[in-house]
């Protein structure tokens, strides 16, 4: 009898130890996820000169170039979701699009006051990256985990899968109006293997130059589309020739999770701790 009790005690003790170990692992994973540089997103709306950021949890807006921030409420249905991808259309009404795993795609045409879900036509709501076409208002691209890139050309009424994407894990991507495309522009994708480039007719993604590590974000100067910026860990790299060669800029002062560029020539970087810093001289100095 006492042997059975001892056996049960040992089993219970083993279960408690395993549960405690699991709890430690889970806490470590949550901490790691919240500190992951790629968890946030950043976008600049030129129409209203508004900067939007997500720290991976909530959405904020700044009308002061990042000095002050105000929380932007999402619809009640999106309360539990995390905004991890964001895009602003640089043309038309300057529609703001946000997305994240379990969130689908939400669209706002009044800087976040009202939201409309537009991802119903997607096969899943696990959107991991989002981009707006650089010159066509209703064209938006969304990357679905494990599926590929989907495109809508009517503001979200209909989505079509257009490509499987690069042979790498995409973190974020942009549409650029850079010349030389067979169609209307280019896509640049930040991936764990570098920056990939494709024409927007999706003739294949190819590595654009060489960077020293996983890339978490990419953005470009719409006035000089061959000039792009890529975030690699704590560093930002700049290219003047569409990604053929990259040069290291000054470090913004922390792990960079997202980048945005305003047509006034300001480069913004979202750091892993949620701060947004900016550079007015192409990444030479950061404030």
């Amino acid at each position: 009898m006492s042997g059975i009790i001892e056996q049960r005690k040992r089993r219970l003790s083993s279960i408690v130890r395993t549960a405690a170990l699991l709890a430690v692992v889970l806490v470590a994973q949550v901490a790691s996820a919240s500190a992951e540089p790629g968890a946030g997103a950043l976008a600049y709306a030129p129409q209203t000169e508004t900067l939007f950021k997500s720290d991976g949890q909530a959405l904020y807006r700044s009308d002061s170039g990042g000095k002050e921030w105000a929380k932007v409420p999402l619809p009640p249905s999106a309360k539990a979701a995390r905004v991890t991808a964001m895009a602003v259309s640089a043309v038309g009404q300057g529609a703001l699009y946000v997305a994240g795993r379990g969130l689908g795609v939400l669209k706002s045409t009044d800087a976040g006051k009202n939201w409309v879900p537009i991802g119903q036509g997607l096969p899943r709501d696990d959107v991991i990256a989002l981009s707006a076409h650089s010159s066509v208002a209703d064209t938006v691209y969304a990357v679905l985990a494990g599926k590929g890139i989907y495109r809508t050309e009517d503001g979200g009424k209909r989505w079509r899968m257009v490509d499987k994407g690069p042979q790498a894990a995409m973190r974020s991507f942009i549409h650029s109006g850079m010349e030389g495309s067979m169609q209307s522009g280019w896509l640049f994708a930040a991936t764990d293997k570098g920056v990939y480039r494709a024409m927007d007719c999706f003739c294949g993604f190819r590595l654009a130059g060489s960077l020293p590590g996983p890339v978490f974000a990419v953005t470009y100067d719409p006035k000089q589309p061959k000039e792009l910026y890529a975030a690699v860990g704590k560093d930002v790299f700049i290219t003047a020739n569409g990604g053929e060669e990259w040069q290291k800029a000054a470090s913004p002062g922390g792990d960079v999770g997202a980048l945005a560029y305003s047509p006034t020539g300001v480069l913004y970087a979202l750091l892993a701790d949620g701060r947004v810093v900016h550079s007015k001289d192409k990444g030479k100095q950061w404030e």
Partner: protein, 155 residues
């Protein structure tokens, strides 16, 4: 040189290409005469680079040692089906150079001196028989949105 396709297979391909796709009413069937004429043009002018079975050059997805993009496949494994008739016609007629090409060569040479507008149309029609029905539907929609064959190549 590849042998002509058997009549039965050709008919099946053409009928398949014109079959009803989900959500699309009566897609236009491909003209079997255009398909056969296009196949002949393809084997004479295109197969040397894009392959006799339109399979493309080896490792076509990455630039080669010279820094040039190899000729891609035109079958279901490639990306030709993603382009509108207007773009495919323009590419074939005028050629194209990848702006990141490391040499001065054109990525795709122009064929407007060798091929008539109808011959260019025929060869594109032939390529459509190499795609899946889903790809053909995608390509038809691209053509509706981005442009059809130019007037000189229309029937």
């Amino acid at each position: 040189m590849q042998r002509p396709l058997p009549v039965g297979l050709m008919t099946a391909l053409v009928m398949g290409a014109g079959a009803l796709a989900a959500g699309e009413a009566n897609p236009p069937p491909l003209d079997p005469k255009e398909v056969e004429a296009g196949r002949v043009v393809y084997q004479k002018y295109c197969a040397s680079c894009h392959g006799v079975r339109a399979e493309g050059e080896p490792n076509w997805e990455a630039p080669n040692a010279k820094g040039e993009l190899p000729a891609p496949p035109h079958d279901a494994e490639g990306h030709t089906w993603k382009h509108s008739d207007e773009m495919l016609y323009r590419m074939t007629s005028e050629g194209w150079r990848d702006p990141f090409n490391k040499t001065e060569h054109l990525t795709m040479p122009p064929f407007r001196e060798q091929l008539s507008p109808q011959e260019i149309r025929n060869v594109i029609t032939y390529l459509k028989t190499l795609w899946t029905e889903e790809q053909r539907q995608f390509q038809r929609e691209e053509t509706q949105v981005r442009g059809a064959f130019p007037p000189q190549a229309r029937r």
